[in-house]
Symmetry: C2
C-alpha cells in the first residue's frame, strides 16, 4: 500500500553561465533554498538522492551524494547518485518519491546539479555524447544534434511538417523564458531568426538546440499527512503519478524514429497510477532538448494526435494562455539544460504553477501538472504527475 | 509491510586484465549467466539497476542502464544507473532489493561493471581520485592510497598494531584467491614479500593495495515465494537485511580515522532488519581496498573489539576454516576490484557460500553471510545480510 507523497519544499539557482559558482556553490544555494522552503529541520532529512550526469568527467568529481550531504551539513544520511543521462533528475525524483510512498523514509531530499560552462565546447560535447552509444554512434561521429536531426527529418517527411513548426517551438519557449527570472535566455526571437541561425545539423540551427547551462534544483519530499501539518499558508502539492520506462540506447535499434516508446509507456504508467488522463492535465513541462523533441513527446504524452504536435504550437494551444500550456518555464530550450538538474527543474516549475506562485507566467487554474524527462535519444523516460490539493 | 526477497540467480566474469573484452562483452557475459542461473525468462524481468563508477570517464560511456538493457535484449524495461564510488554495486543491490521487498517489481536484475585496465595508470588514478573531494583532497595531491595510509598510520599509533598485521591481511586474501577460479591474483605471497614490496604510501607497499580490474557481476532478485517455485535442486538464498549510511566525503571532516561511522550505522540497520547479530554471521565479505580497511571494518561490523582486528587475522580467526571467515573470495585485494562490480562480487561470493557451491574455498555450515561495501574513505557504506533457507 503506497502512502501519498507531497513536494513540500523547492529551491533552485538561476540557470546559465555561472562562472562565479562552483559545483558546491550550486548545490549549497539550491539545497538550502529547498530545505528552508520546506520548513523541515535538516536533522529530520533521512535520505538524499542526487541526479547528476557527468561531473565525473566535467569536474573530476564523482560520488556526488556524499559531497552534497557534506556541503548541506546532513550528517551520516544515506545518499545515492543516479545517472541516466538527461533523465538523471527525473529518475532521482522518482526514486525518492517511491522511498517515501513505500515507507522507507518519511523525509527525503532530492537534488539535481550540473556544472558545464567552465569547460571548452569540445569537452562538453564529448561529455554529452557519452549518453549515446560510444561504439556505434559517438565513435562514428554522431552527436546529439545530428541524432535528433535525423529524427526531425524523418518526422517532417512522415507528417508533412513545415520547418517553421520547429522554429515556433523555440520562439514560444523563448517568449516564456522572458517571464522566468531564473531562465538563462531572456531574448525574444522570431521564426525568421531561428531559420537563419547558425546551422548545426540540418534542419536544426543553433536556435533549435537547448542550452549548455550551470544550475541546480532541489526538492523535499514527505508524506501528504505530514505535509499538511507544515504549511497552512499555501496549497499543498502532491506527487500522484510516476512512470519510468526505457528503450535501446542506439537510435538504429528503435522501432520508430517518430514515436518514443519509452515516453508512451512511462506516460501510461503515470496516468494509471494517478487516475487521470492527458485531457485532465493543465500544464506540462515536456523535454525539449531540441525543438522536434518537444513536438514528438507532446504527442506521445497524449496531448495531441500523432503528426499534429507542430500544428498545436502554430495554433497557440501550447502557449501559457492556450488550451494545453507546454514549458511555461521556457524549457530546456530557454530556461536552460543543466543536465542532472533538468528533470527537477521541470518539477520545480510544475510546483510553482500548482502553488500559484509562477508570477507573470502563471497558468490560470492550474491544478494538475505533468513533468516529462528523457535521457539520450529517449532511451530513458520518466513522467510525473503532480496535483494541487484543494 | 516488506516482502521476503531471494537472490535467485548469479553470474560473473573472471576478474582481471581482460584486454579482449569490451564493456559490452563484460555485461553480456555476466548478465546472461545470471539470468540463465535464475531460470527467470528475460521477458519477466521488470527493472534493471546497474552499479558503475566511472565508465563516463574511463570508456566515454554514460547511461549504462540503457546500454545494459539493450545488450541483454531487455526491451523497454526501466533502468537506473547508480554511482556511489566503490559502493556503487552494493547500493544498486540495495535499491533493487527494496523495490522487490516493497512490491514495486517482482523480478529485478541488478548488475555492476567496470572496465579499467585499457587505460594508462595515470588515467585510472584520476578516475579513482574523483571519488574523493576534488577541491580539498585530489587537487592538493591526495590519492586513495595516501588517504588510507594516513588512516593506517593513525590506527597503528592508537592501537599499537604491528605493521605485520596489515601484511597478514594481504597474505590471507591471496591464499583464498588461489582457491577462486574467477580471481585476478593466483599468487601466493608472504609477509616478507609484502613488507619488501614496492612502496606506495607509507606504510603501504603495492601488496597492501587492491587491484585495478575489469569485471562484471549480475544477480537476479525476486520474492522468496516465487523463488521457491523456481529451484528445488539447490538451497534458496534470501536477502534478509540491508543497511545504508553515509559520512563526509572529506577525510578531514570525519569524527575518527579509526572507526568508520558509516559502517557502524549501516551494520546496525542491517542487523536490526534481519534480527541477527555479528556473532551469528558465518562468513563475511568485507571491503578491503587496502589492508587496513579490512581490519577497521571487521571491527566496526562487530566481529572483533576495536584494535583487535589485526590480532584476529594473526590468530587465524579470519581464515576460511577460522571462527569468523573473512573474504573467502580473495576480496578486493586478490579477487579484484572492478569498482562498480565490487559490491555485487561480494554478494556473489556470499550466495556461492550459502548454496554450498564455493568448492575448495567453501566455509563449512555456512548459513548466514554478510557483504560490506564502502565508497570513498567510507563516505558511503552498504551492508547486506543473506541467509540460506532451510
Amino acid at each position: 500500500m503506497m502512502r501519498e507523497v507531497a513536494v513540500v519544499g523547492i529551491g533552485e539557482t538561476r540557470f546559465g553561465n555561472l562562472a562565479e559558482s562552483s559545483l558546491r556553490d550550486l548545490i549549497r544555494e539550491a539545497g538550502e533554498k529547498a530545505i528552508a522552503d520546506s520548513g523541515v529541520p535538516k536533522e529530520s532529512l533521512q535520505a538524499l538522492y542526487v541526479g547528476n550526469f557527468n561531473s565525473s568527467f566535467l569536474c573530476g568529481q564523482s560520488h556526488l551524494g556524499a559531497l552534497t550531504a557534506e556541503e548541506l551539513g546532513l550528517k551520516n544520511i544515506p545518499t545515492t547518485r543516479i545517472e541516466n543521462a538527461c533523465a538523471s533528475g527525473g529518475l532521482a525524483f522518482r526514486t525518492g518519491m517511491l522511498m517515501v510512498a513505500l515507507g522507507v523514509y518519511d523525509f527525503v531530499l532530492v537534488g539535481g546539479v550540473e556544472k558545464m560552462t567552465h569547460q571548452e565546447t569540445e569537452i562538453v560535447t564529448s561529455a554529452l555524447a557519452s549518453a549515446a552509444d560510444s561504439d556505434s554512434e559517438t565513435e562514428l561521429g554522431a552527436t546529439f544534434p545530428s541524432l535528433f536531426a535525423m529524427i526531425a527529418n524523418r518526422y517532417m517527411h512522415e507528417f508533412n511538417t513545415p520547418r517553421e513548426h520547429l522554429a515556433m517551438v523555440a520562439v514560444q519557449n523563448h517568449d516564456n523564458a522572458l517571464l522566468n527570472p531564473d531562465a538563462q535566455m531572456h531574448k525574444k526571437i522570431t521564426v525568421e531568426k531561428v531559420l537563419s541561425g547558425f546551422p548545426v545539423a540540418s534542419p536544426f540551427t543553433i536556435y533549435d538546440c537547448s542550452l549548455i547551462s550551470d544550475g541546480a534544483v532541489f526538492v523535499v519530499l514527505t508524506t501528504k499527512e505530514i505535509a499538511k501539518s507544515l504549511h497552512s499558508e499555501r496549497p499543498l502539492v502532491e506527487a500522484i503519478g510516476s512512470g519510468h520506462s526505457g528503450d535501446s540506447i542506439r537510435l538504429a535499434l528503435k522501432k520508430s524514429l517518430t514515436t518514443f516508446d519509452a515516453t508512451v509507456q512511462a506516460a501510461k504508467q503515470a496516468y494509471e497510477m494517478s487516475g487521470v488522463g492527458p485531457e485532465d492535465i493543465d500544464l506540462a513541462e515536456v523535454h525539449d532538448c531540441f525543438t522536434i523533441t518537444q513536438i514528438i513527446n507532446s504527442e506521445d504524452l497524449g496531448f495531441f494526435d500523432k503528426g499534429k504536435g507542430g500544428f498545436a504550437v502554430e495554433n497557440g494551444l501550447t502557449r501559457i494562455d492556450g488550451d494545453m500550456p507546454i514549458n511555461p518555464s521556457g524549457g530546456l530550450k530557454a530556461k536552460g539544460h543543466p543536465i542532472g538538474a533538468t528533470g527537477l527543474s521541470q518539477i520545480y516549475e510544475v510546483v510553482m504553477q500548482l502553488r500559484g506562485e509562477a508570477g507573470e507566467r502563471q497558468v490560470r487554474n492550474a491544478r494538475l501538472g505533468l513533468a516529462h524527462n528523457i535521457g539520450g535519444t529517449a532511451a530513458t523516460c520518466c513522467v510525473h504527475i503532480l496535483r494541487r490539493d484543494g
